[in-house]
Structure formats: structure tokens, C-alpha cells
């Protein structure tokens, strides 16, 4: 896990991720400005650090209702505003970017942050970015595979010789600056099904597994498939970290948490994915064996520990701001994580 700057003895890492969504509050119909939203994201990262969280990441979605299209710039600001917390993208759509430029950006963020930057590269679940940046959806898979491979190569080799189909060849190219300690942790973002997890395993890179809802046992299939694929391809699964990510919302009681966050998640899903979140599924989300971490601090602790026991993952990343959840609610959640949830998670998962 050294390449990933992780020490499993310190227990399960706890982080927050945002897609930078920018959605009207379903209660008032009003939307804060993009400027305010971006500043609140930077502020949220600072508060996460103060509360003792390990990780904060920002994603890019190039469509209406999102605001961190320039996610590397936001991460640069977060790098400057924080001191200890690890920072990453969640995810960087490498398919439609130039891996050289992405690496230059993240190596720079790594230097600004004194060695805290990571890249999570994904294929995009919202694909407006393909038209916008002039790529064809027909090349969806190959664009990602080729560019992700190049990104990993740049991470491993300071002087790169490479040629491929979707970018001009590189001949003895020196990709600068180099990150603080020579390389960056690079992860592959994966949706639910095992098919995609297997690809991360084959590549021998860390897996960021997004899980919206559903039984822990279903996602465990993806994790097992990932480890098996890694092993088959000559990688040691013991060296490959797994991060899981999904909805999070804590309140005094589970009922209260569900009541407060449901309208946000439902509206957010409607606007960004075109379908609300069925109440029946959301209600089942409170079961201790469902991956959705919405509930009282006690329920969330029980769920995360159960997930950790089943997955053996190294990092959990909470998405708590989806659908325009207001900043005061986010602050309260950070406070609950820092004072109630995190100490228990560390107590039961740390080994020293």
C-alpha cells in the first residue's frame, strides 16, 4: 500500500467526495451562485480536515446542475487552504482529457499540497463531456483504456516513449514537474457491476467503487472479482487499496436523517439522472446490510464496520452534499463525523 501512501494499521480512512453538483434547494426552489458553491466546497474541505477526516475529493461533470468542471483548479485552491488532508479527483474523466496535462496538473497540486494529491480516473456516467470536448461516444471504452494506460505510464516513467490512437506520440518526453515523492496514487473509478471492477484488477491499480444503494453482499462480488482479476494478472491484491463511496447523511435519529436528506437525493437524481430515487428502495437503505450510510450515528457506525468486515477496504468516502444539501447541514454532518463516527471507526479498525 506504500504507493498509495496508506498504512492499514491506521484503520479505515474516512473521506468526503463531492461531484460539485449545483442544484436548487428542493424546499425553496432557490439556487446559490456557482461562486458561493465553489467557495463552500473549499470551506468544506477545510472543515473536514479540522474534524480529522483523511480525504477530500472533487469530481468533474460537464453539464447543467454541476459547478466543478474545472476540478483541478478547485483542488489547487483546496491544496492551498489545507495542510494534512489527502486530496483527489472523483473522478477525472481521463477519456476526454490529455493525460500529459492531467499529470502536470496533479503533480503541481501534489507539490502545492506537499505530497497529498491523488488521481481517481473514471469513464464518466454523464457523457455530455464527449460532445463538449469533441470526442465520440463510440470510442467510450478505448479512449479511457488508452489514456488511462498512458497516465499510469507517465506516473511510472519520467521519460516517456509512447504512441497510440487518440493522442500524438511522445518521444523521449519528459513530463514535468514530478510529484513530491516521484509518483502519485492513481485509482480507477468503478460503478457497481463486477465487469468494471475486473478491469481495475487487471490494470493492477487501486479501485474507487461507487455504490448508491443495495446490499453489501452485491458489492462484495465486485470486490472479490477485482482481487481475483488482479491476482490472475500477476498483481498482489494485498498491495492494492479499495475505496468505497456512497450516500451519507447523519442526524440524531435515522428517521430524521431520512426525512432531511431524501428530498435532496430524490431531486438530485431527477435532475442529473432523469429518475428520482424510489422511496421503497430508500427505505430499505436503512437496513444494516445496505450500503447506504444514512441514519443515526450509531446505525452508520454499525454499517461502516459491517462493510469493512465484508469488504476489507482501506477507505470509505462519503457523498453528503448531493442534490443541493445546504451548507449548514453539511457543517453539522462534518461535526457528527468528527465527534461521534470517526473515533468509533478508528477504534475498531486501527491495529496499533
Amino acid at each position: 500500500m506504500n504507493n498509495y501512501r496508506m498504512n492499514p494499521k491506521n484503520g479505515l480512512e474516512f473521506g468526503i467526495y463531492t461531484l460539485g453538483d449545483h442544484i436548487p434547494d428542493p424546499h425553496t426552489g432557490e439556487r446559490i451562485t456557482a461562486q458561493q458553491r465553489i467557495n463552500e466546497i473549499i470551506e468544506l474541505a477545510k472543515m473536514a480536515e479540522q474534524a480529522g477526516l483523511d480525504f477530500f475529493s472533487v469530481g468533474e461533470s460537464h453539464q447543467e446542475y454541476f459547478t466543478t468542471q474545472g476540478h483541478t483548479v478547485v483542488l489547487g485552491a483546496i491544496a492551498q487552504a489545507t495542510e494534512k488532508i489527502k486530496i483527489a479527483s472523483s473522478s477525472t474523466i481521463i477519456s476526454t482529457l490529455d493525460p500529459v496535462r492531467v499529470y502536470e496538473d496533479f503533480a503541481t497540486i501534489d507539490l502545492i499540497s506537499n505530497g497529498r494529491a491523488e488521481i481517481i480516473a473514471g469513464r464518466a456516467s454523464r457523457v455530455g463531456v464527449f460532445d463538449l470536448l469533441g470526442y465520440s461516444l463510440r470510442d467510450y471504452e478505448e479512449l479511457f483504456e488508452e489514456k488511462f494506460e498512458l497516465l499510469c505510464k507517465i506516473n511510472e516513467e519520467e521519460i516517456v516513449n509512447w504512441s497510440g490512437e487518440y493522442r500524438a506520440p511522445l518521444s523521449d518526453a519528459k513530463i514535468l514537474p514530478r510529484p513530491l515523492n516521484g509518483s502519485l496514487p492513481i485509482w480507477r473509478a468503478v460503478g457497481g457491476p463486477p465487469a468494471s471492477a475486473i478491469k481495475a484488477g487487471y490494470a493492477g491499480v487501486g479501485m474507487f467503487l461507487a455504490m448508491l444503494g443495495g446490499p453489501v453482499s452485491s458489492f462484495k462480488h465486485s470486490i472479490t472479482a477485482y482481487r481475483e482479476a488482479a491476482k490472475r494478472n500477476g498483481h498482489d491484491p494485498e498491495t492494492l487499496p479499495i475505496a468505497t463511496a456512497g450516500f451519507f447523511y447523519a442526524a440524531e435519529t435515522t428517521q430524521e436523517a431520512q426525512k432531511e436528506v431524501y428530498p435532496y437525493i430524490n431531486e438530485g437524481m431527477k435532475l442529473s439522472n432523469g429518475r428520482g430515487f424510489p422511496k421503497q428502495h430508500f427505505a430499505q437503505g436503512a437496513h444494516p446490510h445496505d450500503v447506504m450510510n444514512v441514519g443515526s450515528p450509531e446505525l452508520i457506525i454499525e454499517k461502516i464496520l459491517y462493510q469493512h468486515e465484508q469488504f476489507g477496504h482501506q477507505r470509505y468516502i462519503a457523498q453528503m452534499d448531493f442534490g443541493g444539501v445546504t451548507f449548514d447541514k453539511l457543517k453539522r454532518n462534518i461535526d457528527i463525523i468528527g465527534t461521534k463516527i470517526l473515533p468509533e471507526i478508528k477504534k475498531y479498525t486501527a491495529k496499533n
Partner: protein, 188 residues
Amino acid sequence: MKLVGLSGSMVGSKTRTAMNHALTILREKYPDIEVELIDLADYDVHFSDGRNYLEYEGDTGYVASTIMEADAVLIGTPIFQASIPAPLKNIFDLLPEEAFVDKVVGMIVTAGSPKHYLVVEQQLKPILAYMKATMVQTYVFVEEKDFYRKEITNDDVLFRMERLVEDLVSLFTAYEGIRKAKEAEYGF
């Protein structure tokens, strides 16, 4: 309640004729229901390329969104080469996997001969079931011999259509009531 009639063929007139009859019955019996007919022959719909339906533009985006926003869908389909027409299958491919959750779907089928009666049972219903539709199980099957110069001449067909329309509305009303009562119990 919002109902969309989806006439799933680019050619011929029988399906459209049958749909016109059904929607006329619907409008007369239930004037409060908002009704819109989408005849695929009138739209330039692209083939599905896997993106989220919200990201299609033009007619494709319009047709997909209109269906997604409906509470009930009445599908009219001919039978081509022992199956549903490609344009209709394309509509399903454009939509998300669980597109028909909480939607009620009824079906009217037009065909040249009774030999194709089970095509809907074996090919259309499994697609709708996969996409989580609540279906009116009985569909109206209309044959060539029931039409004359773009009119339906068989009273039996019209009576069956009337029952289909009634069943569609009853089923939606019943399920909506059940769902609302269930959702009220959750307390969120």
C-alpha cells in the same frame, strides 16, 4: 394523470388508426387526463448509443423525456417479421433500465394475421417487465380484417379497446393509491 400514447411504427396506418380510436375513447371517458400521442412516424429519433436519455437532443430527447414524464403509456405496435418494429425497440433502448417504475402500460397490437397473437406475450411483455412496468395483462389484438379504409369496422374491437382504456386507468388509480399509502408510512 398524464398518459402518453406511443404509436410504434414508421410505416402503415393500422396502428395509428387503432391508437386514434383508443385515445378518442380515453378523452371522452376521462376528460381530466392529459393525453399526448407520439407517433414515431412523425419524429426523427436517433438510435440509442448508450447515453442517459437526458443527454439526447432534438426529437430523440423530446420523445424520451415525454415518455419518462408520463404516468401511463398506451403502446400501439404492429408486428414486423414476427416481432415488434425496430423503432419501438429503440425507444426502450433509449430509456433507463427501470424507466417504467410506477408507470402503467397498456398495449394495442395490429397484425396482418392471427398467427402473431403471441408475439406480444413473448417479446414485448418481457421487455416491459424487465423495465418494471405495471402492465394491463390483456392487450387488444386487431387484425387486418377489422379495418376498412383507415377505420375500425369491428364493434368487438372497439368494445375491447374501451375495456383496455378503463382497465389502464383503474390500474393506475389503484396502484397510485397503494403507493401513496405505502410512502406515507415511511415518514420521510
